[in-house]
Symmetry: C2
């Protein structure tokens, strides 16, 4: 039994939905289907979910909702038309939208309900389309499926009992089409997952029904070993482990939402990333364990937008609690740290720049100076992190040497190395403008 | 004007004291002399300070003090005899000891007073000896010199006003001989510095009198670039900076007490490490700045006795305050951490094993598991740290590459790399049994 999840680009048009139906029907194991809302059809297009958000904002601000509503209706209209489905469906979608908007007051939950309309409508359309092809298929609302979540609008977390509810769906006849991205609280209120949350639904359903495979259909043939915008046509990754995926997704691997896999991971369901446009290609398998056949490094992730807070103080090393006190100031200022390399009398804290606007920097620096009586405190911005990832890297002698040599060959100074906690990754900090040459050189070293 | 400090081995015998006198008298700039207590004369000998500690412990336990007392008296006796000094000095030393022992009750301060007797007596002997050679010299008690310290028996810290008091000593005629290792509180109580504290006194006096040079006489010709017990006849370091010395001293560079230099450092007094047995050799200069002429790495320090606490938890990265909470438990348990490398969902904390006995380990592991709800927590012992140190290393491309290659060549797996906070050092963790081959290989790389 397989769970197939189709992303926004895979369901953007009627033409794509036909491909989706072909894929579903080509394998009787594909009993559960999870869909996103229609995504971009072309560069510059607007995703249906963004149109729903715009609609909600206009409504709140008492501006005209017509432009956004018309675009939404147009998109569904053309899909329904091209699939030769009954136009009554369109009326129902419009009614549902009006119903949400006309509820008593505009709470965050109502925004959640609007945001979820893209997925919900599309799941209805797809199940109708499958039926129109003479197949047994049905739309299953997440409430009916038993996907219970915490009461956190926009960042709901799944509750454990959901998995048992979902298990009961195994016996359901035909193909079940479930909209991604949302669940319901125990009180029956709709809550959405964080953005990208259709992946989360897919992963939850796969874990719940104990699928043999969770197929995640997207618009790339596979996960690449490095960002294709840095290296043209990079090597495809055939198989990687959950741990590797999790580490890679931290720094710039945006194939899908990085926390989405956790339910599948916990239930040990293998995941396959496939391309809706080339379903015959093998894609990338994400599994619990793999043979380390392709060398110690499987991927290179990289991301910009980091800053470093450097603090020095004589005899810091002797001062019990210094590190804790420094991190406490950051917690106080709602800044989470990424890494904290330390010398004898100094310590740096690496954070994401988006957590650290100028005014906060000023306050944090002042607090560190005054509360910790340090000798020096300074901030460096425009840092990039590069991570090499691979199972067994930790036990392979010479990986650090090959990696650091790659930096030297590219004439890139390494500002920071963090290695030793994760067994599957090694992280390097460089100045942002050195990211590209460094990644290119690492690619040469480990993949050529 | 110079301050010359002579360590325990330099004042262990009358013969050595003659060398010391020759050194002092060969340069009229050597106006201030700071001495340790007599150290070991040969492998297996007992330092006089240790005899005083033994004496105090016997007295407290109501055991016979004769054996220790006799050994102390014997040592001073032979020194006084061989230097042809008046035997009355010996009586005075004995009287002073009795005076301390017969005070009302045995408080930690009285142990401090006993511990300081080695230095104090030797300073008196040396000044008498210089006088017997027809030179103008005098014993200066730290109270008279104005060395004021905090009320922390055994780990006193100098108070700032001491430096002004010491400055007044500049006008004193002749050679001033000051016992190292102790000062007095404002209430007049004797307090010792941490062990090795004669270096501290020397450094304080040099800073106070604003010496042109602080000479630290010991039993090695210079500071070596690596531990001579690992590499035979290693390269001598001619000149290094305070920062380099401080980093090197952290991990196994035991030429002298690593925090002793700070007063000299703050006053920008250059320091020279010299050999009492070869005073004609140039020794090692420790300065504020140096030309980076000898390549980026000046020394390799290494030390065993580290342990690592590994913690993993899904979505740790998303949990604001996790790092702070982990360090808080350690602070609570009076454990100071050395380094804290972190992955995405895991973090390791490197600590010194001597802070982490088995019973404490059990409690800490339990607390981490229960209070932080982690997925995994484990402890690894028998780790060693290897540090390469050098000014400007941070801006030299390729140092990390050469270093990590050295580990690979020695077939040593790197358990941890910590680089990025200190500009002058890079730290590597390895299993303890890999320390020697790793250091040898690094030496080959950077010094051959």
């Amino acid at each position: 039994m397989k769970v197939a999840k189709f992303g926004g680009s895979s369901v953007a048009t009627a033409e794509m939905l036909k491909k989706v139906a072909d894929i579903i029907l080509s394998d009787p194991e594909r009993k559960f289907v999870v869909v996103s809302a229609p995504g971009k059809r072309f560069e510059g297009d607007i995703k249906v979910t963004d149109l729903f958000i715009e609609l909600g904002q206009c409504y709140v601000k008492d501006e005209s909702i017509e432009p956004a509503l018309n675009r939404i209706i147009d998109r569904f209209h053309s899909i329904i038309d091209e699939l030769n489905l009954n136009e009554k469906m369109l009326d129902e979608i419009e009614k549902s939208i009006q119903h949400i908007l006309e509820a008593d007051n505009f709470s965050p939950n109502r925004l959640d309900a609007l945001k979820a309309m893209g997925e919900d409508s599309l799941a209805k359309i797809l199940s109708e389309y499958l039926k129109s092809l003479g197949k047994q298929a049905s739309y299953v609302n997440p409430k009916e499926a038993g996907i219970l979540v915490s009461n956190e609008p926009g960042s709901a977390q799944v509750l454990d009992e959901s998995f048992d509810h979902l298990y009961a769906l195994r016996d359901r006849e035909g193909i079940s089409v479930i909209p991604g991205f949302f669940g319901y609280t125990k009180l029956g209120e709709l809550m959405t997952f964080p953005r990208g949350g259709s992946d989360i639904t897919g992963s939850i359903v796969a874990a719940g029904v104990k699928a043999d495979l969770y197929e995640n259909f997207t618009d790339v043939d596979s996960v690449y070993c490095v960002n294709p915008s840095i290296i043209k046509h990079p090597k495809e990754i055939k198989k990687l482990t959950y741990r590797e995926m999790r580490e890679l997704s931290y720094a710039g691997f945006s194939v899908f939402h990085d926390e989405a896999l956790i339910p599948a991971f916990k239930a040990q369901i293998p995941v396959c990333i496939k391309n809706t446009n080339h379903p015959e290609k093998p894609g990338t398998m994400i599994v619990s364990e793999r043979d380390a056949t392709n060398g110690p490094v499987i991927g290179i992730a990289s991301d910009t937008g980091f800053a470093s807070i450097y603090v020095s103080k004589y005899l810091m090393n002797r001062e019990l609690g210094f590190g804790k006190n420094l991190l406490e100031i950051l917690v106080d200022e709602q800044i989470s740290f990424e890494h904290a390399p330390s010398g004898i009398d100094d310590m740096s804290v690496i954070i994401r720049e988006n957590q650290f606007p100028q005014d906060k920097e000023k306050r944090v620096v002042q607090r560190i100076r005054e509360e910790l009586h340090v000798d020096t405190v300074s901030v460096e911005r425009d840092l990039a992190m590069i991570m090499i990832v691979g199972e067994g890297m930790n036990s392979t002698i010479g990986v650090a040497s090959r990696a650091t040599e790659a930096f030297a060959r590219a004439n890139v100074n390494i500002e920071m190395i963090n290695q030793g906690s994760s067994e599957v990754s090694m992280m390097f900090g460089v100045k942002s403008d050195k990211l590209v040459p460094a990644v290119k050189s690492l690619y040469e070293t480990f993949f050529k």
